[in-house]
């Protein structure tokens, strides 16, 4: 479903991804773990098409299409979702307005009918309830004044509303309290566990993987995948740390 081959990327002239190869099939969840500064967020941003992230070598195909050839908003319309490690605040733009624009822009790009205000609100209510987020928060400006955990939960509400085919979730578990972690884990399963969907979970902790069971676990270090294993690799890392395992 997502096929990354020999990806090299740099930011501000600094080489960060060094020949990264990874393939996630439909119906699969893969976890990526790795030390701070390894290039995990850089991988996420590069796949999302963030300006300033320059690809110097390699290829990425998403459902057979050349992902790197698409604009960021086209990637989203094609079904790619990026859960941000640090969700961005947008003063003056409410979550409802933002998400309705987003949902309808995606639908338009796919040649589908726009959602009416009523249809959208119904969908938003349903997904907010799934993630146990108060509807009132959706009326507030995007992420402005949200706590760290609320921002992460909001990312998942957005994912629920936009219903992507493939999600790259960058440390969505960081900053969540114990109950919120379970809610978010259940949310990811309910939104993304599907034979036609895929997930790349970037995380530092085993705990989220108890709820969202990965098919494979990869270790990313110095801009490339240095080791791949099953769920047991995450447990091994938790016990022994990167220095021992890598």
């Amino acid at each position: 479903m997502l096929k990354i081959e020999n990806l090299h990327a740099e930011v501000d002239g600094k080489k960060i991804l060094n020949g990264l190869t990874l393939e996630v099939g439909a119906g699969e969840v893969h976890a990526i773990m790795g030390p701070n500064g390894a290039g995990k967020s850089t991988l996420a941003y590069t796949l999302g098409g963030r300006p300033g992230y320059e690809i110097t070598e390699g290829s990425v195909t998403f459902d057979g299409q050349d992902l790197l050839d698409m604009e960021p908003h086209e990637r989203a319309a094609a079904g790619l979702f990026l859960g941000f490690q640090y969700p961005v605040e947008i003063p003056g733009v409410s979550n409802v307005q933002f998400l309705r624009e987003a949902a309808n822009a995606q639908r338009k790009a796919r040649g589908e009918e726009a959602l009416t205000g009523g249809e959208f609100l119904k969908l938003a209510k349903e997904k907010a309830a799934l993630l146990r987020m108060d509807m009132d928060m959706l009326k507030r400006p995007v992420n402005v004044g949200f706590s760290g955990g609320e921002k992460k939960r909001n990312e998942m509400v957005q994912m629920g509303i936009l219903d992507p085919k493939f999600a790259i979730l960058d440390e969505t578990d960081s900053g969540l309290d114990i109950d919120a972690l379970r809610t978010v884990g259940d949310g990811i399963n309910s939104i993304m566990r599907d034979a036609g969907k895929g997930v790349l979970l970037i995380t530092h902790y085993q705990r989220l993987l108890d709820y969202v069971k990965p098919d494979k676990v990869h270790i990313l270090a110095k801009g490339r995948i240095v080791k791949t294993g099953g769920p047991e690799l995450a447990l091994e890392l938790e016990r022994e740390g990167y220095e021992e395992v890598v």
Partner: protein, 248 residues
């Protein structure tokens, strides 16, 4: 009488950021005319402008009265709205203005707010959004006379430049002769937040729509205190309409 009117030049303080060539080509009468408005004590008046050319408004707000001026300056040529307000005891002046546009035009607001008696308040919010080689200006002078205690005067200017060649100028001037006075002034000039732009793109929102949402949120501040909400909406729409046609 008309021959006596002399053309202002950019050497005059109040005209320092004006378009010099446009001034020279102007009719001196339009530059020196005033529209006079008197707001009776305790009453409320509102004026709104879609600014074109040069207009000057002189207002006197009676005791406890309120005058509200809202304006969009999105003109295709040099355009300037100037407002001189004198406030009596307990009066309030509210100004919300937006300059927006590209090209190489200068669009400006100039206000002179005279707190002539105690207890008067004023609040001025101006937002500027420009691209191309356009210029947006806000010159705001606040004068507080000797006996005008408990004056509360606020002024806030923020500009977003969408392209490198555009510019914005602001020049607050405070002349305060009373001691029990609150004067708040803020100014900032910057660019659109690119991380917010990418965040929106990552959710499927194309660049033009993302930019429009950001600009809308930014300029909405200017009309937040306008009492007639529908008018505020109309002004927002008018301002955003020039952005829609922009080649960026």
């Amino acid at each position: 009488m008309t021959d006596l009117a002399t053309l202002p030049t950019t050497r005059d303080e109040d005209w320092r950021y004006a378009d010099a060539a446009a001034l020279e080509a102007s009719d001196a009468n339009t530059l020196t005319d005033w529209t006079e408005i008197a707001v009776p004590a305790g009453e409320s008046r509102a004026e709104s402008r879609d600014v074109t050319g040069i207009e000057r408004i002189r207002v006197r707000i009676g005791k406890g009265g309120r005058f509200e001026l809202s304006a969009v300056n999105a003109a295709p040529d040099y355009a300037r709205l100037e407002c001189e307000v004198t406030l009596e005891d307990g009066a309030h002046f509210e100004f919300g203005g937006v300059t927006i546009g590209g090209g190489s035009e200068t669009r400006e607001f100039v206000t002179r707010c005279i707190h002539g008696e105690p207890n008067a308040t004023s609040n001025q919010v101006v937002r500027a959004v420009h691209w191309g080689k356009a210029v947006g200006n806000f010159l705001g002078r606040i004068e507080v006379v000797r006996d005008a205690q408990k004056t509360d005067a606020a002024q806030n200017f923020r500009a977003i430049l969408l392209e490198k060649g555009a510019s914005a100028n602001t020049k607050p001037e405070l002349e305060i002769f009373a001691d029990d006075v609150k004067c708040a002034h803020g100014a900032a000039i910057g660019a659109l937040d690119q991380s917010a732009g990418f965040y929106m793109a990552a959710r499927g929102i194309p660049l033009e729509i993302a930019r429009k949402l950001q600009v809308q949120a930014f300029i909405a501040d200017a009309f937040e205190n306008i009492e007639d909400g529908e008018l505020g909406e109309k002004l927002l729409e008018r301002a955003l309409s020039v952005l829609e046609g922009a080649q960026l």
